[in-house]
Symmetry: C2
Subunit: 445 residues, 2 copies
């Protein structure tokens, strides 16, 4: 899919080729301004970004299509035929909390290569970072309750469904309903039943009975099709009947998908508890997002798990990040854009994270590459000369790193509200970087 | 990708199989409540939905994965191995304007088949309908000015970028910057240049010159990297110089991506016009959406084209539709959900569109299948016994149908505002359907 790019990447690559411009360009990917209510973002998508760079090549079919456009000379197409990504990549490990203007990923490569990969690198890293940064809000709100991704149907087509499941898992979700995501990434999958199953039967009880008979290992019954509390009573009766006939444990859980979730959950919990079924789990779903999860948990509603769908998979309150891939340096010289409202920090940069005695995150400093800093460098070399430096971490390892880093964040940031005005997370700019900007300003670029 | 589905589709299919429930189920896909500001939606994604249904089958690898879950018996897996979609599909042609509760697509098939395909059918049709319904707002606002999809980088991963380009083209966009979308769907592709190209040069003028030299057929130069109006003067000088040396037409267009677009466009237009370059086109981009396009066009700003990116590809003001796939009938009996706030119209339904003398759309009527109505039936049979009934229309034909239907809409709907309270588009419910609901209410289902 090397043609999954903006046409201008190819026309610019052609012009660079044509004029022998082949020096090293440094591009950095960062978020200029996070959306409202996002105190921090979570880096994600690096693994797929690296795979893309490793596999970049133009097939005979690709070249044939480009030839058909009639605007690329054969010499350039021949050059594309042998083009590979030969550059280096430094990046934040997936699962790392990050802040505005911090480089998430840095590419250094001959300018045509570094330019060509812009569109797809953004497309990959933007989406998973977006979803991880949304999912983590649910995870913080859930405070240990189980979270399952239910969003496939309204994710933006197939890839989005798969990578949303991955990004959510990194951020602390416990599983997904999407089978293919489970297969591809090893994420735990789980599922309940749909209203249509209940409706296909003339009586709700018959539907429950048949489902239990077919799936004795672990059934979660959907109980809001007609009357939620009546359904809970039916389940108690059914479980007793089945257990009297020797079933070990007939019903593992129920799902409530509509109505006043808090009221219904308390009532249903009461019905089960009074009947001695304290272990039947209650799963909630139906238009949930971080705020609703937060409210239910804060109110002490006795549910066990949440299915979060659309709000997660499309990041409904902020469906895009202001993420860009900017030229920082070409041929050893710092570069930056001066367009109104879009001024960026020039030069090849690094981010250092300062930690307290127990590992807690105290602040970040954006510096020029090569500056020394007592903090922990956040960008690590992941590709060199077009090859992966080391096997990346497993998804479980990424998820664990993310969990540790979240615990290390200042508590004020682990909140669903706005960035605290009183004590925003300190991201400082190094003196050397400030001097570079001043010098470029004085120079008029 | 048959495992691109929610796990519960498979567990329900297993239970249906286990209990010999194999009667015909009718499911319909519709939008319960359109997002604010959407006076109508546009059907899209049918072609991909049909392709999915035609190709549905579980591979040996799929079955191996399911076997590994340890909860599906071999008899059911053997059944899945031979399962194909054998049902029928009725659907609105792509590009059709539609309204709340109208069936967009109807599946009639043995219940396990009809159930299994829910997640992916929604995933496909939801996304393209979402984007077409967003794109049409830009198209209405642009009033004939060119519109190009620039959104790939912030679309939700690869598929979303491709299908957003397709959906936008149906709705009236003129092209896309995404090369692969051009190849796959035959959509015209176009591109300009990025700021990084300019920044890689020490002088803006040198960048312009090199780009023109390499791409003499059609260059669109980006002029807002430093000082937009100064860049326009540079381009005039450059064009004169090149033309004095025999170039036929050196610069075809410019792009402005930041700043006060209206002011800059007027100034740049003036510079070009006074120099005799009335044919240099001005393309605008940079965070544009339907509202900004509308404002610029209404204000008579002399631009020629718009590049619309993020707002289009993620449908930023409404990144999801409340679209659902509901069981309408099973074994010949109408069904419906009674969950609070989610009551639906039961039975196998049809939509008839009433037209005036010149073809203008006057109103819709949702009726039971088989009812007679003087209006035009909107659902047409597209699959029978699991096979496509006829070759579908080409993308150009779909785009033309869409354009005609937009012209036929009541003018009040061709507005970017809220649905007009005074004269909402009339969608009536047939008497027979109302009687069915009353009978089911009386019956308590």
């Amino acid at each position: 899919m090397s043609l999954l790019t903006d046409l201008y990447q190819l026309t610019m690559a052609h012009a660079y080729f044509d004029h022998g411009m082949n020096d090293i360009a440094v591009f950095e990917l960062s978020v200029r301004k996070p959306p409202p209510k996002r105190c921090f973002l979570l880096a994600a998508g690096l693994q797929q970004a690296i795979e893309y760079l490793e596999e970049l090549r133009f097939s005979a079919d690709d070249l044939e299509f480009l030839r058909g456009l009639g605007t690329f000379p054969q010499t350039f197409l021949d050059h594309l035929a042998t083009l590979r990504f030969t550059g280096s990549v430094h990046a934040m490990p997936e699962g790392t909390p990050l802040f505005a203007n911090e480089p998430i990923l840095r590419v250094a490569a001959p300018i045509a290569e570094a330019q060509l990969v812009e569109s797809r690198l953004l497309n990959i890293v933007h989406f998973q970072t977006l979803i991880a940064s949304k999912a983590v809000r649910c995870a913080m709100a859930a405070r240990g309750k189980q979270l399952i991704d239910f969003g496939m149907r309204r994710a933006h087509e197939a890839d989005a469904a798969l990578f949303a499941a991955r990004a959510a898992y990194i951020a602390g979700f416990n599983g997904t309903a999407t089978v293919e995501a489970g297969r591809r990434f090893g994420i735990p999958i789980s599922g309940t039943m749909a209203h249509s199953f209940i409706e296909a039967y003339d009586r709700e009880e018959a539907a429950f009975k048949d489902f239990i008979a077919s799936r004795p290992e672990s059934v979660t019954l959907l109980i809001d099709s007609y009357d939620t509390q009546r359904a809970a009573h039916r389940i108690v009766a059914l479980a007793r009947e089945l257990e009297s006939r020797g079933a070990r444990r007939a019903v593992h859980g129920v799902r409530i998908d509509s109505g006043d979730l808090a009221t219904q959950t308390r009532a249903v919990r009461g019905i089960f508890d009074r009947a001695g079924y304290r272990d039947i789990q209650i799963v909630l779903s139906g238009g949930l997002d971080g705020y609703k999860v937060d409210e239910l948990v804060r109110d002490g509603v006795p549910m066990d798990a949440f299915g979060v769908g659309t709000a997660l998979d499309v990041s409904d309150d902020a469906p895009a990040l202001d993420m860009a891939y900017k030229l920082q340096e070409y041929a050893g010289k710092p570069r930056r854009k001066r367009s109104p409202g879009k001024i960026t920090w020039p030069g090849t940069r690094h981010v250092f994270r300062e930690r307290g005695k127990t590992g807690e995150i105290v602040g970040d400093r954006i510096a020029l590459d090569g500056e020394r800093d007592p903090g922990e460098p956040l960008l690590t070399e992941t590709m060199r000369d077009g090859r992966r430096v080391a096997q990346g971490p497993t998804l479980e390892q990424i998820r664990e790193l993310c969990s540790r880093e979240l615990q290390a964040l200042p508590p004020a940031l682990r909140d669903l509200g706005d960035t605290p005005e009183s004590a925003p997370f300190p991201v400082r700019i190094s003196e050397a970087l400030q001097k570079l900007v001043a010098a470029m300003d004085a120079d008029g670029d």
